[in-house]
Every structure is written in structure tokens, then in C-alpha cells.
Symmetry: C3
């Protein structure tokens, strides 16, 4: 049991009241719980995007943090509901790959299947995952939450080639890819949707010229496609999940 009491939320709930309701449920189970919203703007149903955000961000949180992760297009179908204990953290959510890259990176110690027999069919986020996350937060052992299962659904989100995908689009319209920068290279051939274009690579947003697509080495050590003071995603008509190459 950890002394910390912190639940971090990663969902595609956007601005709906669902986010407030699940916090109400968690506060009812664990009155001392504190919440930090990691990102509730994962593109709807985009499991891979959520997985990528979680993989890169989980390590910035204190040991003992419980991650409540719900991007769940298949709620109410056969997919399992799980809680995972790793070396430093807990992860609670649907077993659809969303939590796999982060949990694996921090080393999985136990995967527990959660009981869904009394839950609504449309909102496991409220009826299954919120109570489970809150019980872990207040100090219950993961062994009290259900039976261990040997596997969780796998998903791979990192890229080791020049072809990758758009893993997140920021509000500004910057498109984050999972493609790594090449050392010393100061321009790339970008291919995304109908667009094929040579783009320069800058160190920082501040140094880039206006009105020109460029790439920058982002804070996660992958290339980001940006347009200064405008939206690269709107210009390229690109969406999360689109294939992109940067050679």
C-alpha cells in the first residue's frame, strides 16, 4: 500500500459530465482521493492514441499513482475489464491494449480481471473502473479486486522505421508522430494524405518561420509536424491514426 492518494485520468470523455460523475463515484469510495486529469481529449475511440500518450507520460507521476484509463469503443462486448499492478503504479481500464505499452514499460506484476456482472452495459467507466481505481487508491490490495489472469491484450505503438502514424493532434493543430528524428538531418520528405513535401526541421517552435509547414523534435523525442501560429492538421486534413512517413 502506498501513502500517496492520487488518481490520474486518461479518457476520451472530452467535456461530458461523465468525467465528473466518475470522480463522484471515486470520492464516495475513497474520500481522500485527489485527481489529476492527464488527458481527457483522446480522439474518440482511438485506443492507439491513448496508449501512446500514456506510454510517454506515466513516468512523470509519483510512485503509487493509480491510472484510470478509459478509451473503450467495445464497452459491453466480450473485452475484459482489468486492473494491473506494475513496479511503481496501478492501471485500471478495459483490456483492449490501451494500457499495455505503459504497463509493460514499467513491468507488469499482476493482472486482475474485474467483475462486470452488475454493471450497466454502456458505462463501465462509472460502474466498474471507477470503484476499482478508488479501492486501489484507498489502499485495498489488487488481490482483493478479483482473480489474476495470465495475459493482457497486446498493442505496439512505437515505430522503428521512417513510416509511422499520427498519434495525437494537439489543440494548436500540431501533429505528433511516433517517428524518431534522424541525427543531424535538417529537413525531411513528409508524406501524409495527399501531401508530399520537403519540410525543414527546427529545434524549437520559436525559431520556425510563419506560414510554412515544419517539423520539430518534440518533447517525447519524436517528430512533430507543425505550422507556426496555425494548424498543421487543418491544412493537411489529417486525423489521428493516419499513416505518415518522414524520410
Amino acid at each position: 500500500m502506498y501513502l500517496l492518494s492520487m488518481i490520474v485520468l486518461l479518457t476520451d470523455f472530452q467535456s461530458s459530465d461523465a468525467l465528473g460523475v466518475v470522480k463522484g463515484v471515486m470520492k464516495s469510495v475513497s474520500p481522500k482521493a485527489e485527481f489529476v486529469d492527464l488527458c481527457n481529449n483522446i480522439a474518440p475511440f482511438k485506443i492507439r492514441s491513448g496508449a501512446w500518450i500514456l506510454l510517454y507520460d506515466y513516468k512523470y507521476f509519483p510512485t503509487g499513482t493509480v491510472f484510470y484509463c478509459v478509451v473503450d469503443p467495445s464497452v459491453g462486448t466480450e473485452r475484459k475489464s482489468i486492473a494491473v499492478k506494475t513496479t511503481h503504479y496501478y492501471f485500471v481500464g478495459p483490456d483492449n491494449g490501451l494500457m499495455f505499452p505503459a504497463a509493460t514499460a514499467d513491468q507488469i506484476e499482476r493482472v486482475t480481471e474485474l467483475d462486470t456482472s452488475t454493471a450497466s452495459k454502456t458505462f463501465h467507466g462509472r460502474d466498474v473502473f471507477a470503484p476499482a481505481a478508488a479501492r486501489l487508491d484507498k489502499g485495498d490490495e489488487i488481490t482483493q479486486l478479483g482473480k489474476a489472469i495470465p495475459f493482457m491484450q497486446q498493442l505496439s505503438i512505437t515505430s522503428n522505421s521512417r513510416e509511422g502514424e499520427i498519434v495525437f493532434i494537439e489543440h494548436f493543430g500540431n501533429m505528433i508522430t511516433n517517428i524518431k528524428p534522424l541525427k543531424g538531418k535538417d529537413s525531411y520528405e513528409l508524406s501524409c494524405r495527399q501531401v508530399r513535401k520537403q519540410v525543414k526541421c527546427y529545434d524549437t517552435f520559436g525559431n520556425a518561420p510563419e506560414n510554412e509547414l515544419f517539423v520539430v523534435k518534440g518533447s517525447r523525442d519524436t517528430l512533430e509536424i507543425a505550422l507556426r501560429e496555425s494548424s498543421a492538421a487543418a491544412i493537411l486534413k489529417a486525423k489521428v491514426g493516419d499513416v505518415v512517413t518522414l524520410r
Copy 2:
């Protein structure tokens, strides 16, 4: 007096700094206050939508929660400012019907009129409701906040027929109605705006086909109109408050 210290916010402030300012004011009055945002994305000035969200969500919060509720198109006019004590909760906001369905459902014990004589005319949310909510949060009795009044403004938001209204539109574009599902019925005739259409009813979002309007029994036991991985509201050009029938 409750031991809990939690203020839950329901507003149409959207992303403005107003939300931060009222929390600053509340923290100044009640330093131990904790906040949960229930929903600050009520469609601007749509009292009925706020009332519906509050009616369905209030019960997920712990006993003693203070609900700060501000959807207030008539700020600065004749409408009263009130604090309400119910069996398990407090509600603070304008007396325009917003809090009536939830307060009634939890049984009203006392309605207190708040003094607005020293407040700005444009922002009672900051000058009247925030201090009042914070005083209840830190343990003041509702009797200390002002004189009891016998009535509050009524509003009815549930529907008992096949005609209802769109009470909320989620970020995904799912339109929540206040119309109840019919047992065993697996398709409905939907009428909304210019559209009249037979739509199938599914148990969960995950089972519905793509590119086809459908209805689903939502987590609040009313019918929701949806389009998988797309926006039903955009297709129907529908807004919160629109009349809808599902026969």
C-alpha cells in the same frame, strides 16, 4: 455539518477564466475546499439542459457535497439567488429552475435567499454564489446565509411520453434525449428537425454498425441518438432544446 469538504461545479462557463476565479474566491473562504467539475459545458444559457444533467448526476456524489450551479441568463434581473438544503446535499445558484428537479428528488429541507446588494450585476457566480457555497463547505449553517423563503422556481425536465427534447449533446455528437426506452422494442421512428427516419436500437455502442444513425439505451435510462465514430448532432443539425419524438 458534514465532515466532507467538496464543492461540485455545474456551469455554462465553458473554458473561460471565470471557473478559475470562482475557485479562487471559494478557496479564500474555505481553504480546505476540494473541487470536482461535474460539467462546465452546459450549452450557454440552457437552464433545462443543466437541470437534466444535475438531476441524473447528483446522486453519484458523497453526502454533504455542495453543488455550485450557475447557468444564469437572467443575472442582474429580478430572479432570486438561493441556497438549498436537501436530505443529503446543498445546492447554491440562481432561482431559475436549474436546481429544482435535483433538489426535489433529494427532498428539499430549506430554501434560503442570498443577499445580492453588494454584488456586481454581471457575475453573481463570483460575488454571490461562490462565497455562499464556500461558507456551506467550511461548515456554516444554511440559517446563517439568509432568510428562509417558502418556494423555489419550478421546472420539469423528465418526459413520460414519446415526445421529448434533446437535453444534452456530448462532445462525440451523441444526442441525449429525455425519452424512455420501450421494453423489447428494437427499432424506433425518429423525428427531429427535418428528419423522419426508422432507426435501430442497440444495447451498446460497440455493437452498432458504422455510418448509420441508431439509438441506444443510455446510462441514464433514456434513449440516446448516435452515429458510431461520428457526430449525430452534426448530421441532424440538432441543438440542445430541440423537440424530438421516438415512437
Copy 3:
């Protein structure tokens, strides 16, 4: 050292995961930190808009609050990173004028330059400002954070004439100006972009007619341009920073 533990965030991070990550970093340094989001929807890179919001809102927060302020178009360039102690508060962020009006209003006691030598070039918000804000929050003295410097970058955002600028656009589309109302005047000649128009001035939003541009004396004692139940900014095609006159 203050007893309070509260970090208030003012950024242009919008809905990105950056906001959650910096809170994770701060919680790791100062486990008891509490957060209030003042406004994370400052228009991208609009330093003047952020400065204006901060100037008007800082005073609503309790003594000892640490303001984490990041609108930082020049991250990674020559601009300094600073922490500022004023009579009642701390401010932490880039030295680009953003914090100057508020810090000056509360009277500057000390400006400290923060070390950026080990930080990423693209995200000082995470690597420099978050740890510094958290150290102040947990009780470190500002003298422990770095060497004092004699000046900070100046910026003036208030207007004392009939010409000013749009300093913020609310989600509803109301445009907040920095132009003060004239006593007893009940209509103004508005000039903004291509539009020149006589507009009436109302006390409250509730009293204004629909479908008609009007001005209202806002909660910050400046004039706001609004359209009841619709977006004034969309009609005028106006942006934050646009010049506006109200005579």
C-alpha cells in the same frame, strides 16, 4: 513560507496532455500541492491576452498562491526563465512580459532567474517552471531557486483611451476589450475590423435584445462586445489582439 499549498495555472496548453504532465511533475516535487486551473485556454502564443487575464484575476486567490504561467512562443530562444516574489504571491514562468502587469500590481519583491541548462528546448513548462513552482509551493525560499536579477521584461496591457484591443474571447464569443466604460454613456460607436456600427450599452446580458450587437460593462470594469445567445467574435471575424475603438 506560507501555510497554503496551492498552484494556480495560466497557460495556452488548451486540452493537451501537457497540463496533466506538469501537474504530475509538480506533485512529485510537492506531494501536498493542490491545483486550480485559472485558464488554460489563452489563445496560442498570445502573451498580452494571458497578461490581461492574470492582471485581473490574481487578486481573487489566497495569499501565498503560486501562479504557474506559461504562454511561451519563444521557448528555447534567449528569453529568460524566472520566478517572482510579490507582496502576496509567487509567479513562475517565461520572462516575456506575461507576468509583469500582475506582479507589478502586487509589487515585486524579488525576481530570480531559473537555470535552464539541463532542460529540453521545447518544454520549459515541464522541465523548468513546474519544478520551480512546486519547490515554492512546498516551502523552499525563492533565494534557493537562483540568483536575483534586477529587471523583468515589461509589458503594458491596460488602455486609457478610446482605442484598445480585444484581450480575450470567451467561449460564448463575447469579446472582452481593455477599454473602460464612460459614465452615463448608453451607446458607443464601435469600430473593429471592417465593421463600424453604433451599439447600445446594457447593464446585464439578460436585459439585452437578441440578434443585436451590444456592449456591456464586464465584471472587470471594461467594455465587452456581445451578441445575446450567439457569438459576437464569429460575426465580426475578430481575433484576440485585434484593435478596437469604442467612442
